[in-house]
Symmetry: C2
Subunit: 349 residues, 2 copies
């Protein structure tokens, strides 16, 4: 059966209406408020047909219709109308990122907060994770008691939460030299390439083999996203949506998003080609919790990957709003980070 234009129109009305009201949509409602040319009986026939096609479902005979996941997917692909943000929202975005181009880590939290505030959904984010991330320099900073802080500067971010034990015999001067040697050794390499030279490097370091080994372990550990790279903002926002009036749903939701590993799974395996990505629960996307939708966008600016950001919420999500917000945030980031970098583009051959 082909989808007539009227069927599409009606499907769009049902999805829009259900997203707005969270109440199953009846034929009478459609005929009276949205499609005044025809009678409710006609709409009923169309609705029955759309149900047969798998786009609509009914909880019970007299309960109106509700879109199926398939309907949402169709809606996003073909029916949805692009929205615009209010002047106020646009200002909010811009002011939030102004003067924040500096360090990517803080930016993740800010971006996540903005997205959660504007969409009214729980926001998830995962920091930059770029196979091409290249080491620029390493430094070891004495912190007393035979401990040093290993700071790794890459073209994307500054990694600084690894502490390494060093022999107490190593003085400050010696440490500084070692820093320079190690820095030279890895400069220009991607984090993934570190393990290729591991053997060779280790064999050359007789005396400080132990230290070197810890440095290499640290470098390797950053190839996977860490808990610190995963941010969750606005978990309490789910209470604003009626599907979470049921305690069981809240419990499932919170249990999933309380685990950073789970969040990483949900938003982690992006296809890099796609800028905005919608996953709808119970539909082959095994990672996404049942009855949840996840909309994410992967941002980059000035050649830098800036991470993946998005929202997680009920399937009945305001996709128009969410996608509009994600797009605008992306543009704002590009403006700010991009302009920051445009006069100092670095090209790691």
């Amino acid at each position: 059966m082909k989808m007539s234009d009227r069927k599409k129109k009606i499907l769009q009305i049902v999805v829009d209406e259900y997203i707005n009201t969270a109440v199953p949509v009846s034929s009478k409602n459609i005929a009276e408020k949205h499609l005044t040319g025809v009678s409710s009986a006609t709409v009923r026939n169309e609705l029955a047909s759309l149900e047969e096609l798998g786009y609509l479902t009914q909880f019970h005979t007299s309960g109106g219709r509700v879109p199926s996941p398939q309907a949402y997917r169709f809606y996003i692909e073909e029916l949805m109308q692009k929205g615009n943000l209010s002047e106020k929202d646009l200002d909010y975005i811009e002011n939030s990122f102004r003067n924040k181009a500096g360090d990517v880590e803080h930016l993740i939290k800010d971006v996540s907060k903005v997205i959660s505030d504007l969409t009214d959904y729980t926001s998830v984010a995962i920091g930059p994770h770029d196979e091409e991330e290249r080491i620029r320099s390493l430094a070891m900073l004495p912190c007393g008691e035979g401990k040093v802080l290993l700071v790794i500067v890459t073209n994307v971010r500054i990694l600084r939460d690894t502490f390494i034990d060093v022999p107490e015999t190593m003085g400050d001067e010696e440490l500084r030299n070692a820093s320079q040697v190690i820095s030279k050794l890895f400069e220009g390499k991607t984090l993934l390439q570190v393990k290729d030279v591991e053997e060779k490097v280790l064999s050359e370091f007789g005396q400080y083999r132990q230290v070197m080994s810890e440095v290499i372990e640290a470098l390797k550990s950053y190839t996977h996203p860490r808990d610190e790279d995963i941010v969750l903002t606005g978990a309490e926002k789910i209470f604003n949506h009626p599907e979470y009036a049921d305690i069981e749903n809240v419990k499932n939701f919170l249990t999933v998003i309380s685990s950073k590993d789970k969040i990483a799974e949900i938003i982690g395996d992006e296809d890099d080609e796609i800028q905005i990505n919608v996953k709808i629960g119970s539909s082959g996307d095994a990672d996404v919790p049942e009855d949840c939708s996840v909309v994410t966008a992967t941002y980059s600016a000035g050649g830098k990957n800036l991470g993946t950001y998005g929202v997680i919420g009920p399937i009945r999500m305001d996709y128009t709003k969410v996608i509009t917000v994600l797009e605008n945030v992306g543009r704002a980031l590009e403006d700010i980070v991009g302009s920051k970098n445009k006069d100092k583009e670095d090209d790691p051959k």
Copy 2:
């Protein structure tokens, strides 16, 4: 009216029973299972009397009795029996902290997780916040593009999330010298003392006044706990407790603990004299959410303050278990951090 021994005994039974079962306790239950010497009618008389004294309340005439906040307070002060942890739990604590003496920041998360796991409540923690925290050294590390990472080593922790803009004219060598000068300038000072010398220091730095000013701002900002210093673990644990079968309660709870500021308020204003601190909601402790209890302990070892840790949950909390866990965790921390430091005690005169 005086509290007879029997009244105390009965109050203890009521609190214990209610903590275990979450069901209002009846006179019959007490007389049959816990106080087999007397009849339920006798117990009833005592219960009526305890209610008059303000220790018990009834939801309705035929509903059994429930302890009042006052009863919990009395229970904690006088009635509660010290518990012991299982061999398994003790092992878990010890293994979790082994080899973790290094950096305090990671320790906060680990400790918080252990507490939440063992008690089955949501754990809150706030990092070291010590008025006596003294600066040992400062370093500025070039990160490219006119940015430097400011690393502050104190006797308690290593602070490393401030980036500072420096004139691009400043070379690496110059930076290193500046680091040393600034380091000398503040060495031995507490973070609170920084603002006393602010004027003087700034006036001496003509050329790099801007950089210096940013350094000082950073130092001052660390005197207050930051969001990063506040950790929340196991928010989903509340679903394991029947008082949170009501969505409204969950909403209140989550809304409060979603705000780091609120958490800081709740656990922040400890009286340093008290090692273990119990706050019961709706009882003058205005910060604590209605119907919630917060039990916290402030740890220190080897002269270092290690932060404040605790749990937040329903008033009907297993105080014995919670306090036992907090005490054991405290001892484990003392062992590990203390022994680490014992041969390198530093005494900042």
